[in-house]
Symmetry: C2
């Protein structure tokens, strides 16, 4: 979605515009934390990045496009992190590791992740990005469930369908918890882990 402004793929020195673009995204993230999506105006972002509205429109076509680019940048991190995670084969260990990783991701990128979830409905590109991310998580959960002995398949009581609901449970629980204290956050994570274990048939 950042395909409308000039390509600059293979190039040693960085164009001035690259710096500006990053500044815009950084400012956007900061404003998101300060005033939230609705209150944040295109003028605000431009000002924060040290340019005028007119100039900002050289980089992005709208506030939505700016935020979409920001989400894309963040989600990229999530994907890298997912890929980098080694597959543990012992289910209990795998579940603990996955929850630990999720906590870290929400700690680092909670703000943008929350924003992505909120905009999923109204901004199709963001919806796309986030649903792809959710698919990655669902796939990972499915694998763990199957290894723990849950029957593979898409019927309501089989691994795939259960993984999807567990994914939504984790998303929503963290979404809310990450707006509260660190303490609640930690506890919420433990609760999700516990339910995941039970769902995998691994009674304590």
């Amino acid at each position: 979605m950042s395909g409308h402004h000039p390509a600059r793929s293979r190039r040693g020195t960085e164009r001035k515009g690259d710096v500006r673009e990053r500044a815009i995204l950084d400012t956007c993230e900061a404003l998101l934390a300060q005033k939230g999506y609705d209150a944040m105006t295109v003028g605000d972002i431009a000002q924060g990045a040290g340019i005028t509205r007119g100039a900002l429109y050289f980089y992005f076509g709208s506030k939505q496009e700016v935020v979409t680019a920001l989400v894309a940048r963040t989600v990229e991190h999530l994907w890298e992190r997912s890929r980098a995670t080694a597959q543990t084969d012992e289910p209990r260990r795998a579940i603990a590791a996955a929850m630990q990783r999720t906590v870290e991701l929400w700690n680092e990128h909670g703000l943008v992740m929350r924003t992505a979830i909120d905009l999923s409905l109204t901004v199709p590109e963001v919806g796309e990005l986030w649903s792809h991310t959710a698919d990655l998580f669902t796939t990972a959960i499915t694998a763990v469930l199957e290894r723990a002995g849950v029957q593979a398949g898409t019927e309501p009581d089989q691994a795939s369908a259960m993984a999807r609901s567990l994914c939504w449970m984790i998303e929503r629980t963290f979404y809310h918890a990450s707006q509260e204290s660190r303490e609640k956050f930690r506890k919420a994570s433990a609760t999700c882990e516990h339910i995941w274990l039970l769902s995998a048939g691994l009674n304590t």
Copy 2:
């Protein structure tokens, strides 16, 4: 939140304004289905209700207030329905009944419920309304879990905390499923029921 326009509490005949107010809310609900929250303008609502923008501001102070009133009206139904539901004492039966009821609620009021969830972050009053609703559901789930033998308490592996996460799971799963086919909706419900049973220690 509808406290700014004249009180008309105890009165036999209905004021003209009462009819208009209902017309506004109905129009708002219809437009929400047609074009969604963002695209819907105050002018649209007024026109649909047969008055001008100026007149609409006599009833509500903003688009947000209109939607908040609509959410309040809908949520009222949910509360009534919850109160009316008899407490079944056999956990398996209680869980099945609760999921059945939830399916019906989402079928009838899915649109407004989705809207309420979306606006929870940005419109404090809606957030209030919805979090109260979630509390009711969480309390009900907690009761069932405890009756099924899950230890009472707020620690991560005890009834109260688990109920909260299960509530979010159900909310999110239905939120997504209700935008797709009836078939997926039915299956998603079965999956939630299954996970709830496992969480309650009621293995199939």
